[in-house]
Amino acid sequence: MTETSDLSPRQQRLRRVSTSEVGMHTLPEAVPPAGSDDEAQYGMAGDARGQLATVARRFIHSPMAVIGLCTFFGLAVAAILTEMFWTYSYTSITNTLNAPPSLAHPMGTNSIGGDVFAQAMHGTLQDIEIALVVAVLATFIGATVGAIAGFYRGTTDTALMRFVDLILVIPVLAILIVLAHIVAKQASNWLWLAIIIGAVSWTYVARLVRADFLSLRERDFVEASRALGASNRRIIVRHMLPNALGPIIVNATITVALSIVLESTLSYIGLGIQPPNVSLGLLVDQGQDSATTEWWLFVFPVVILVVLILSIFFIGDGLREALDPKKNRVRA
């Protein structure tokens, strides 16, 4: 962080506002007074880069987070490479039935001769795809609902939050079972699965963003932008949302992990991914009866599934630590 002592009190105040927020972001354009000749000195872009670097540095210093990040990208890259270059695809059927792991089939084959390695890697890719769609969807819906509820308060807030309660009082899995049953008849497409999981996963983000917005809307910088004539929409999108970005990012990461849990659970009970497509949950389901005899059908998918989810949790935990404003916050 740059020294701020040589700035005027007014400038110091502005900088304090921008740096004391939850990591990551600083205030965009509206903070420097219009026409001010030292706009460059406020260095908003530089400031943001500085904070990003701080966050990245703190992230890298946490060993678990780095291990998580490497494992996650390792699995994702391995899955993509397998999809492109591996001898067998997840649909191929070979003449070797129920073979234990060997060089030709690193994870063995199943009872109809399918290559478990190709299937497990395709399942991993499928799970990651679904989880990313869910995270984007849930974060978008959650942030929008939370921002509107927290900003406008009153009746809008009450109505939206009652709707959130509606989803929170029923076990998520129960809602998903009902939704999956309805969607299963429309199409057994993975995108539908992602959409319904997204439809129940946004409530936590919404509550989080709402709580942040309730306190942010009382801040001076919001008042300042309003005095400058900014519209509500602009205040929400350009000024308040960036300040709530830290918790939103952490939560999006956790959502990725939780949606893999939900997806594999649904696939396990037969309401998720349908054959011939595969996901890790489906493979565990298919392998469970032979867990002690043809162990490779069960153990490999289980291990990959747990490692995948665990790596994302570690990334999330590392991000939380790195973005935590209470930890060696840069004081103005």
């Binding site: 029923i170 076990p171 129960a174 009902v178 309805i182 469970q288 867990a291």
Partner: protein, 325 residues
């Protein structure tokens, strides 16, 4: 306090009412529950007509909802698609699920507090790392994975090794079970152990992680530093100043997680073949049975709401600063 609780109850009942409408529409619009009966040429037409009448399938939607609603507030949840009363089924399945859920919740709370506190007090030492990694492992493992691993790689080897059944892996009790309650107890225990352990392992982990963080934060606070500076014995500082404050956030988390425990119980029941509420609900949804689905929804949601209220009350009890008004 009382006014606050009453207001919360009224809002919750309103939310519950909306939830039933939503689920009613979802299930009612998703298909014909009698499709299987109709497809069977051996079933006479009048039987189907009688079933349609029993389930009010030919009435308009709002009327069907009203019929369900006016009966439900008197504790009558209607009939299943197969033509039996819902309520006796609901009660028997609920009792099976509660056997596992109550035990698992209580043990999880104790375990989570113990592990969380121990890890926090040994921060940075081997015990802390072991506890934290284990916690994260159980946090990451989906319920069915933990259940299946326990079943295939713990219970079955133990049973084979000892040459007798210590852990039953299927069902909530032996089908031939009879006799007095106390003579049935060992059979219940042998059936309940594995599912309960599964549910404990998947529930305690996130609470333990939270409890650890909460203790560490309290240890770092000014009032604890002051208490130490005053010369209060370390033991007393821990008991009076740290634990009491560190317990406050955890109670809320535990109570809010109750819906997740019920969801976890659903999967555990599937893995271990328990005839509990979850399997009953799953079969109900698969059979497009509105009355079963709504009964499950009402019961679970009521439990969740009551737990949330309980959390608020405990919260106020633990933290005298909190005023509800």
């Amino acid at each position: 306090m009382l006014a606050y609780i009453l207001r919360r109850l009224v809002i919750s009942i309103f939310v519950l009412f909306l939830a039933t409408i939503l689920v009613f529409l979802l299930v009612a619009e998703s298909g014909d529950p009698l499709a299987l009966l109709r497809a069977n040429p051996k079933i006479p037409h009048r039987v189907i007509l009688a079933r349609e009448n029993l389930l009010h399938l030919n009435d308009p939607l709002y009327q069907r909802y009203w019929i369900w609603f006016s009966h439900a507030i008197h504790g009558d949840f209607g009939n299943t698609v197969a033509g039996q009363a819902v309520r006796p089924q609901l009660v028997s399945h609920l009792l099976v699920t509660l056997r596992m859920v109550i035990l698992a919740t209580l043990i999880s709370i104790v375990l989570a507090l113990a592990v969380g506190v121990y890890a926090a007090l040994r921060q940075g030492k081997v015990a802390d790392h072991v506890a934290t990694v284990t916690n994260f492992l159980f946090l990451a493992a989906p319920v069915f994975v933990v259940g299946l691993l326990l079943k295939e790689f713990v219970a079955i080897p133990i049973n084979e090794h000892l040459n007798r059944i210590v852990f039953y892996t299927n069902g909530e009790q032996s089908p031939t079970l009879s006799g007095s309650f106390f003579s049935r107890l060992p059979d219940y225990a042998a059936h309940t152990a594995l599912p309960t352990i599964t549910l404990i392992l998947v529930s305690y982990s996130s609470w333990a992680i939270y409890q650890r963080a909460s203790i560490l934060e309290t240890l770092d606070s000014d009032h604890v530093r002051l208490a130490r500076a005053k010369g209060i014995s370390p033991r007393r500082v821990l008991m009076r100043h740290v634990f009491r404050n560190a317990l406050i956030p955890v109670t809320t988390v535990i109570a809010l997680d109750f819906a997740a425990i019920l969801g976890g119980a659903l999967i555990t029941e599937i893995v271990f073949g328990w005839q509990g509420l979850g399997i009953w609900f799953l079969n109900g949804v698969n059979g497009l049975d509105i009355n079963i689905t709504l009964a499950y929804l009402l019961v679970t949601a009521t439990f969740v709401i009551l737990f949330n209220l309980l959390a608020d009350i405990i919260y106020a009890f633990l933290d005298p600063r909190i005023r509800y008004d």
